[in-house]
Symmetry: C2
Subunit: 421 residues, 2 copies
């Protein structure tokens, strides 16, 4: 048993913070045993790590990020989705055939996740098996957790990024064999890039892999009008974009997360709900590639699970804290247009980024009993120059803090040191 004393802030439900000033979090075997105002009798003999006046909060989950777009972070912002893929993204991903290049970039990618307090990811790698394996090992070695997908794609992209269905299946089997243990921190996820990148045969195969190995699924959904039109042409029998995934068993047959859903509405929204598919909301990406404002309030009202994604490199920022700010801002633009559509509050977006997103991994993202102890220690003393309240301190850190205030990171109960470059 290990006990941490600090100003503890987390969520149990969407609409409010649980705040325990100078509280105690007891951790056993990597899981939270309890959060206490005062130390109960049975814990009085345990060692206590006193974190002083710092904040102790759940660690961040990035539910959508493209590791092999790392080099393009912060550049190439002048095109919409489809030409952006062709001109900037695919040429960069081609380089990941070279594992030496992949290693150099993936080390930086892992370190930047770490810097910004993201301990779990649902990540896209590239189509390449060896560099995907490398990324999974680097994340695991760093002590971080999540799901990493070797991308499946075989059309509408450069030849060097196209695989055969046979190779796709073999690669999946190999990754399952190496990584898919119940106690593994980093595990595979079936990752059809998106409908336009996959032939019906490959989509069939993806559905089959998900079922056979009981693997979760990630992909992109209804991000951009041009993309939605293209999907209509490619899958004319589908009633809507999400239905195309559904027809291949890739829409909630196993746990599924779909990035963006900017234009999801009507039947597609109903199906998201019915199938229990999670939305990875990526607000900076949706701005940067001119996609639009995703209707998160409508997802929440419908009971659809939502998490946040950096979507590097269409998103330019790794910080899930800054994603929270952006997500609130996006919701305020919906509120501007329709005052009955309440904007997201700070507890809500914090809950989305931690407990709601974390549910994709199991009991992750809260300090309730039995949850994995994924946590960040925030030293906000430079920001707290005037006796702000604890919720205000968290609000200020989220809005104006950065990696400099994150002074310790835990994943599954273990301290996660700087993985270096």
């Amino acid at each position: 048993m290990k006990i941490y004393q600090a100003n503890v802030i987390y969520t149990r439900q969407s609409n409010r913070f649980e705040i325990v000033p100078r509280g105690f979090v007891a951790v056993e075997d990597g899981k939270v045993e309890g959060v206490y105002n005062e130390l109960p009798e049975h814990l009085k003999s345990c060692p206590i790590e006193d974190l002083g006046n710092r904040l102790l909060i759940p660690a961040m989950n990035d539910m959508h990020v493209h590791a092999p777009q790392y080099r393009n972070q912060g550049i190439a912002m002048d095109l919409e989705l489809l030409p952006w893929l062709q001109n900037y993204t695919f040429p960069e991903e081609l380089k990941y055939a070279d594992t030496a290049y992949a290693e150099r970039m993936y080390r930086r990618f892992v370190r930047d996740l770490w810097r910004f307090g993201t301990m779990r990811v649902v990540a896209f790698a590239s189509v390449h098996l060896d560099s995907t394996r490398l990324l999974m090992r680097l994340l695991d070695r760093a002590g971080m957790a999540g799901r990493v997908g070797k991308v499946n794609m075989n059309r509408n992209c450069p030849e060097g990024l196209q695989e055969t269905v046979v190779d796709a299946k073999a690669a999946c089997a190999s990754l399952v064999d190496e990584f898919d243990r119940d106690d593994a921190r980093v595990r595979p996820i079936v990752t059809p890039r998106f409908i336009p990148s996959c032939t019906p045969e490959l989509l069939e195969a993806c559905g089959e892999m998900a079922r056979r190995y009981n693997l979760p699924v990630q992909s992109h959904l209804s991000e951009n009008h041009g993309e939605i039109e293209l999907v209509k042409q490619l899958e004319p029998e589908s009633r809507f974009y999400g239905d195309a995934y559904d027809r291949y068993g890739l829409f909630g047959t196993t746990p599924t997360v779909m990035a963006h859903c900017v234009w999801t509405d009507g039947e597609e929204l109903e199906l998201l709900k019915k199938r229990g598919v999670m939305v990875a909301h990526c607000p900076t990406s949706n701005f940067n590639v001119s996609s639009g404002l995703a209707p998160v309030r409508r997802f929440l009202d419908a009971g659809i699970a939502v998490g946040l994604g950096s979507d590097v490199s269409a998103g330019h920022d790794f910080s899930i804290f800054r994603m929270m700010v952006y997500a609130i801002q996006v919701s305020k633009m919906h509120y501007c247009q329709d005052k009955s559509c309440a904007f997201l509050t700070l507890p809500e977006i914090f809950w989305i980024a931690t407990k709601s997103a974390g549910s994709f991994f199991g009991k992750v993202g809260s300090f309730e009993q039995g949850y994995d102890f994924d946590a960040l220690v925030i030293d906000d003393s430079e920001l707290n120059f005037d006796n702000y309240s604890l919720p205000q301190r968290l609000e200020r850190f989220i809005h104006i803090g950065d990696d400099r205030q994150i002074v310790a990171r835990y994943c599954q109960g273990r301290l996660v040191p700087d993985p270096g470059l």
Copy 2:
């Protein structure tokens, strides 16, 4: 004569960067004498400061910021403009009757401007003369420049923030007397808070002060629907919000900057153009207090001058670089709705933040001959791990850099050291 050698990037016109790799900027008496690819004969004997592989760019101008809202930065984001003023802003500004409190906060305010590379401001102080004077002295002592307004207000706010017209005039005369010299770095600006805060008598007096002392004017315009409705009620003879300022000689009679203009259209837009009024675009603020998406492309198309403002504390971020990113994103949401409305490019927004904004102060914001040498030295070596091009290096610094990369700051040719707390 002083010469700086570095990778020089600036703008002369809105649609492209001037880039001189390892170029030379010659500075005499605080002004740029020239930018050179190779050192000309007449400069060969001058001392050179070699900045190596760093970037040398114009310093930032913040065209709209509220100094006495410093403590509220990053908090209180749950209300729209008018209730936000009543509940959060006015109670904080009341504290600035106490110059000791003002000094403690204003020192931090000045330092944060400095940290993020903002060398010139058009700032609102509070209604209080003594603390306004203090802010002006602190900025001047720091070596930074700009216009600071003692706010004029006498209605729709707490009694402690209301002044008499007589006091307003006396305070203005006193500030002009102390600060309004041609060679002063920090000078006054007439600052009616906005129409709802000022009686017709006070607005008359503001117009008179601007004319009498030939002072520029700053205020707020068409930020929010509730505010616009209120102005209609308060100034029923005005045809539109901007017309209300115009009737009091506060709309371009002297150089004028109006913050926000989110809902400016039609006649108001025409009048902005006709009177040469500058728009201070404050994208984060417009998100945070649910105002909307300002139509910057339409302003540019109409030939209206635009600058960027942090609008702390409705805006949560001092970085004008991050304002650039936000401004592009806002323009992309307009583009989403109307593809004929091109989004802002990186050279355009850089030009807006530097040369366009800087025109409010004179020859400021470029490295063209005769411009004040306001400059930042950017050491982006941590971000430049893969031989990015110079425009990409600037783009990455703007998107993912922060104050850590700004290693030197110049204002009017002088190095500006850390002003401390």
